[in-house]
Symmetry: C4
Subunit: 236 residues, 4 copies
């Protein structure tokens, strides 16, 4: 959840607010080849962070969130910041193809890989919840947590009835997040149609066409995980 | 919790704020045959939604709430909106006999059927809580969750002592909510006197003469469910 | 938690703000023989209620709180009100020897009996928590919940070390609260030195010389109950 | 959590705001040999307390927090105050070598000993959480709670991968906190490199170079404890 570099009181050199306007919105460039994060993107990240912190889902500066800026860039939260209080200095524009600026979370490659998978991914959120962490470890060997018969499954895009089965993929955690992203994308490309996954012992990722969709998917998956954890306790 | 139509940034055509004053309060008509939701009704829905969201009972835009407007109409929250932040554009007046405007939750028929059951129903609330979801699945075959000996049973209208037995009905979930409403009303008409029910794997409904009564019933039932779930854990 | 009379939008006749100044503080009389609740008493009740509601300890208008006004009177919350939002119209001055005004909680006799036990009781609070409710039923036959080895035991007046044993009494619930108060006071007079008790299936009472002390005792006992409930789960 | 002296409405004599400016910041002296707590230190304590109270981690006035002021002094919260609302009168400057002013928590020696261990300790926080209390009792005989395979282990300074093992030490509780501090420091000096420890039946301590680091360590350890407690429930 923290990169080795820890909190960043000053924006790294890559992100000084210099450069020329570019792109359809004529926004100010932060990165030699990137437009500036606009106010809408920052607001979306700030609001989601405030919500996640109120739920206790981003303890110890954990978690990271991003929104797509255009076909080639996303705005991503920096490493080591208080995710409940995201300000303009706490995010950076990152090219989807890299390179990743200094001061970003080690998990930034997981976000970028999701955006590269297609224009249907407009926001990616990652949090650390108790149910996600515990079930991701309990079911790691099975490779997925399975939900069936919950109305809440309909919170996921494309699910129209509780009479469905949802398989939330679990991936082994790996500090080499570039290699991890490749394994994740290979499996997702192979047919998984759930807008989220678990990293074992780590937490929950979810995405959507918009930040609202990503948040709805995350809340829905977390509720399904919490109910499932409770059912496991009763069933033992 | 979401209808197939998802979030509704624009009010559907049925609800443009046009039409002539009508009825005792001379309110502005929204629907050809409906008075406008008045400020009191909207305030009640907004306040309940804020409370429910603070408790985490409306995750992923789940849940829906309504209040009776007059003998023939109710004001109901729309589908896909953030239930913690209900504004004037997030509710619609619905005739109790239908038709249901576009953009409403698939569960609107469950609300309308409750109002048609009698003038004693003045507000209906539905939320998704962990205890309600888990116990509704655990006890679905029994058809009810049974409470006895709790002082909190007195939160329910007509219960004067903890020395009573309360049976909260459970119904199988069904995406055909018109048929589901018929089954529910048939059973409730047959003598159930608890102001709430569970849908299996789905959540908790409660109602009352006023929104205050409906909320008290909902909070009381949720507390009874949470205590019962805890007792099941200890008793296993 | 609710008396039969339910919410009280209007103060009952006993409590019109009329009468003559009396007593050391020359406050305005509400009851023929009672001084008015002063601003300090109301503030204490409002602040405690806000705190209790934020913790979810007063669901469904449950719970009631009081503070001593003088040697012969206490200010007590009325029945059926939202305990998270206690205003001037939501409390009444009650003579410790009775009679109890209309609109008060059925549990008012439990409060009055505590004040009559001695001047060391300056505030009494009662809430409904999950741990208190579940453990009061689980241990009802034993007559007490026992705590040993917790540093939190020092939150209770007179306890100086974790190397003590605290026995929190449990009483069978009874809708005849006058008779119940007699049984409680008889047992407390017989030597119990813990500033609280449980009513089986009902909830937790605590008191202290001041509202701060009563709240500290309540919070400490609730923490001890929550830890004990968790240890029971692990030990089964 | 409370010293024998209880709440302190008046600052003790040691802390009257008199004396001459001294030290690099020319702050006002409170204690004959101590600079005044500056605004930054007070803000850090107030903000941490507000956060801890919002999480329910400082029930019944429990918990205490401190920040280093200079090489020889720390600012420490007083005993018996509401930790969610720490004001200027609720803290005192304490020399690391003593003596400890009146009105301080009995646990102040544990804070001072940590600061004396080295300049890398800039803030110390102590809270009472359910998971910390229960696991500190369950694992007291083992002398530590062990974490392995959690990404959250990276919240701790010096941990770069989830493929590590973290051992959080547990010490038997002792009302003689001077003797307790000696035992703790002896063990920590012997090689423990985790920025926190548990007191059995009592709670969690954590520290860091800054208050932000101490808070991150505390939140990370609490999350690891909560996940571990949940895994124990499932594994029984």
């Amino acid at each position: 959840m923290r990169s080795a570099s820890g909190p960043q009181p000053e924006p790294p050199a890559c992100c000084n607010r210099t450069g020329s306007p570019r792109g359809p919105g004529a926004v100010t460039s932060l990165h030699p080849s990137a437009p500036a994060p606009d106010a809408i993107a920052l607001d979306a990240l700030t609001a989601f962070g405030r919500f996640a912190a109120s739920r206790g889902w981003v303890p110890a500066t954990a978690g990271n969130f991003s929104v797509r800026l255009d076909a080639d860039h996303a705005v991503v939260t920096r490493s080591g910041i208080d995710k409940g209080n995201v300000g303009a200095g706490d995010v950076a524009v990152v090219p989807l193809a890299g390179p990743i600026p200094a001061g970003m979370s080690a998990e930034t490659p997981l976000h970028l890989a999701r955006y590269r998978a297609g224009a249907h991914v407009g926001a990616v959120v990652h949090v650390h919840t108790l149910a996600a962490t515990v079930l991701s470890r309990a079911d790691e060997a099975r490779g997925a947590v399975r939900f069936a018969g919950f109305e809440m499954q309909k919170a996921l895009a494309g699910v129209a009835t509780h009479e469905s089965v949802v398989e939330l993929p679990i991936f082994a955690n790996d500090q080499d997040t570039v290699a991890l992203a490749e394994r994740i994308e290979a499996r997702l490309a192979g047919g998984a149609n759930v807008p989220g996954y678990l990293l074992a012992g780590h937490g929950l990722y979810a995405w959507g066409a918009t930040m609202s969709d990503a948040r709805r998917h995350l809340e829905g998956l977390e509720f399904l995980l919490a109910c499932t954890l409770e059912e496991r306790r009763l069933a033992r």
